[in-house]
Symmetry: C2
DNA sequence: GAGTGGTCTAGACCACGAG
DNA sequence: TCGTGGTCTAGACCACTCA
């Protein structure tokens, strides 16, 4: 109940949390600079930055390099809806940028997709934005074998992906999503505009069709300061017996 | 493709990763002390610790305070199975410790459980261990209203929870799990034996029965260096239409 | 260019674990 | 007790944003 030796960063984070919830620091407002805060709390800059990292990971504060630390207007919105009923990241008011690449399966990817090495794949590299702030980085891998290449290989537009998903969905048998937390790769940190010390929610999603083939594998990275994932399971009387 | 200025910690993490995957650092083996590694890579201790934090978040390295850094024998096992078909954290070879408390709903908890403030709750504080290493910290909240108190209120044993779950499961209509990543609270860091700079996978699980009442709400914290969560959705022909 | 956060240094001192 | 990791300091220097 009582922290014997509350660390400096916890004490500072608690104090700032209080300031925010009390409304003395308003939503959207900029905090004093880290140097000023460090001076105010009489700690070194690394310690103060650690305190801010706590608030960041709670989604209370947003850091913008070169500008400052800002109180978030709202707590993180749901960015990812699990369960495979949706193609992945879905939200109104989201822009998506997509980049399509053709490549060949290698070690980890080949295993994930259950295809032999060197077999052709299509990669869709998607970044979703909400209000110019990136909310997810997705790498979607689709084997080019099971589907005629001209059906989707030539289309790099988001509509192509949606159409493809719509075509394949009736054949889906199972969607498995593995969720973990880890620090971002340098690329992820750059694209998502987050500090390399802020964890990402990492989701590996594998969709399997009724023939047991892997239809699609997705590697997702969500910045933990502004995104979370929700999985909803409905227990209808029929579905209740589908799980072991 | 090429990192213009690879940060020191990334370079060191990459090197150590290579050492591990090449087998020069074997599973279970202790790494040189942080001071030795810092000297070897000619960096300061904080920088070296940052590099180790990367490997930790990938589950490659386990830190034990007072002993050293160790190469993990295996990558993290699945600790949490989502979907509500299981009561929560389940794994063979897991020990569970449970602590039961009676309390009254307050702000956040009351809202989560959709009960009025001050209504009585039972809290089950569960810690699961695998091989003496804690793998999850769960706080399960159950309203005491809808179920006769003597059915479960008096039982603080794990069997009580399982029995209760079995009783209530047929009535379940929906299970919703919100997953996010954040830094641990001091208590969580202590119980899970992790550094306060290592993120936890935070899962909030709400189970609703067919009457729309919240049967149970669970706040789960999983150490991101040794746990992940898996959600599996089966698409049977009947179930395919259950989602909007 | 001025001000902001990002990374890193070279230490200090405390807390924990094993002998 | 001694070696380990955990926390923190008081700076330095670089990178980014905005006027």
């Amino acid at each position: 109940m009582i922290q014997p030796v509350p660390s400096r960063r916890q004490a500072i984070a608690d104090d700032l949390r209080k300031e925010i919830s009390a409304g003395r620091l308003k939503a959207g407002e900029r905090l004093p600079s880290e140097a000023q805060l460090a001076a105010h709390y009489k700690v070194s800059t690394p310690t103060l930055r650690n305190a801010l990292a706590l608030l960041q990971s709670e989604g209370l504060v947003e850091k913008i390099h070169g500008s400052g630390n800002f109180v978030r207007h709202h707590l993180p919105r749901v960015t990812y809806l699990g369960g495979g009923a949706t193609p992945g990241v879905i939200n109104e008011a989201h822009q998506v940028s997509v980049h399509t690449t053709h490549l060949r399966a290698q070690g980890y990817l080949a295993a994930l997709l259950k295809v032999s090495p060197h077999s052709p794949l299509t990669e869709f590299l998607c970044v979703t934005y909400e209000d110019k702030s990136p909310h997810s980085l997705a790498r979607i891998y689709v084997p080019r074998d099971p589907v005629p290449a001209d059906t989707l290989g030539g289309s790099s537009l988001p509509e192509g992906i949606v159409a493809q998903q719509a075509t394949l969905r009736p054949l889906l048998a199972e969607v498995q999503e593995k969720v973990s937390a880890r620090l971002p790769t340098p690329d992820e940190a750059k694209v998502l505009r987050i500090s390399s010390t802020l964890a990402v929610l990492s989701i590996t999603r594998v969709a399997t069709d009724i023939a047991g083939r892997v239809v699609e594998a997705t590697l997702l990275a969500l910045p933990s300061d502004r995104a979370d994932a929700v999985f909803t399971t409905h227990h209808t009387s029929e579905a209740r017996s589908t799980k072991g």
